[in-house]
Symmetry: C2
DNA sequence: GCCTTATTGTATCAATCTGCTACAATAAAC
DNA sequence: GTTTATTGTAGCAGATTGATACAATAAGGC
């Protein structure tokens, strides 16, 4: 029942920071292990017969139920003191296993961090066999995370800030069609600052990456906004 | 004589792309292994009792003879097909060792890539005990590198392009004091495009990160340029 | 219908930044 | 002193961004 050493690479793991956007704030998926009170990022080991990236993708697909996801590697964490056998022992104990003292999962690990931006509303958070829950937590209100997982989250936040506007346009966090205001909210939340409405609209439209669709009538007593979708062509300038 | 499994983490290594600037082009340090004709990036394994970053730093210090170096992690390479036991076997053979078929260094490896920008003229390239030479090679004229080391170099080049102007100002590649023309040459070489002399000067000076010193009289029959040094304060805007 | 209210899409103008040209100020050779 | 190559900076036009203004709605209240 414990993962076998023959199947997996030793001393290496991956961890994923899976971002979703509620319309108001950024949230990430956090696992809680059974009977241990330990909170952790979704992560795992790399099988000897699969690519690193595929291992991480498979993990995210399992936890979210999504079939098409985009992962971006942002940093690898290899400090000596980041590894700690206690959480794994506790987790095993909580599950009723006896963990041999020299088991490979208790050894030191170097972990590769990936982030993923996904549509909050399409996700079916699915716990794994070692955890009894997986839930969305606001990045401003995380539970105490085990080991260095909080540092990993912070690095991921830095990374999405830097990637926004180049690798990343924030549309992954929104439904297929969205309003300009929603897109701006995404940018404001990730960059953690207010953006000028008119300048933002002019700049994004000037980038020529959006397709305009019908109007959205929300029932509100004011002018209805247009819906846009990401146009999978010509990302011209940033 | 072969590295022992007790001392090192298995399945993980680091590789470093060490950049120097000759005044005309970017070069990197490449090792050549004895009697095997194999060229490789300087790299190594991580001791169980040291941080990942320290392992990589130690490696760069040994290969360059420098005491103060700055490393930047840029990517981790984990494709299934990147590992190949043949080079290690050949290297061992070239050294006269017998390498057991199941030795841990023949196993699959995930490698963490770091780059370093250093002053070309201060370096004493120093081979390790497995290699008979370490030399500077122009990035436009590299020897055929083993495994995926060429891909690692390309990723490093992308990374320094992106980091230039934010994390990195290119002054690491130059001596303590340098002229504006030299700094511009560094930027042009890294970005691989010509920059407008006047605009570059205005922009860099406007960033307020340089201190101006005395003039440099080279003996050339024209106006002498000022020398500048990097001012370790207030990196204002990019 | 007509007026009100909140919001959206765009225009406008000033302030700033960038590309480009021009030119005075050299340092050394002749 | 004259010549030549290079440097530092100014000046101007064009592009980009910040800030304000305003017309065009959607629906609710009367």
């Amino acid at each position: 029942m414990l993962p076998s050493e023959d199947k997996y690479l030793t001393n290496v793991s991956y961890d994923t920071v899976i971002f979703g956007f509620t319309g108001e704030e950024l949230k990430i998926l956090i696992l809680e292990y059974q009977n241990s009170g330990l909170f952790a990022l979704p992560g795992g080991y790399i099988r000897r017969d699969e690519n690193l990236l595929d291992a991480a993708k498979k993990g995210v697909m399992k936890r979210t139920g999504l079939k098409k996801i985009h992962l971006e590697q942002f940093h690898t964490f290899g400090k000596l003191n980041r590894s700690n056998p206690e959480p794994s022992k506790q987790i095993a104990k909580g599950l009723g296993y006896e963990m041999p003292e020299n088991h490979w999962v208790l050894d030191r690990f170097i972990t590769i961090g990936y982030y993923s931006l996904i549509n909050y509303n399409l996700v079916k958070p699915t716990p794994n066999k070692f955890s009894d829950s997986i839930n969305w937590y606001s990045i401003n209100n995380l539970p105490p995370l085990m080991m260095d997982h909080e540092e990993i989250v912070n690095k991921a936040l830095e990374a999405i800030k830097n990637d926004l506007g180049t690798k990343l346009f924030g549309t992954n966090l929104l439904p297929e069609k969205f309003t300009m205001k929603e897109l701006r909210k995404v940018y404001e939340t990730i960059l953690n600052k207010k953006l000028r409405r008119t300048t933002f609209q002019r700049k994004i439209l000037g980038m020529d990456i959006l397709k305009r669709h019908e109007k959205l009538y929300t029932g509100a007593a004011n002018k209805a906004p247009y819906l846009y979708s990401f146009d999978k062509e010509k990302p011209k300038k940033s």
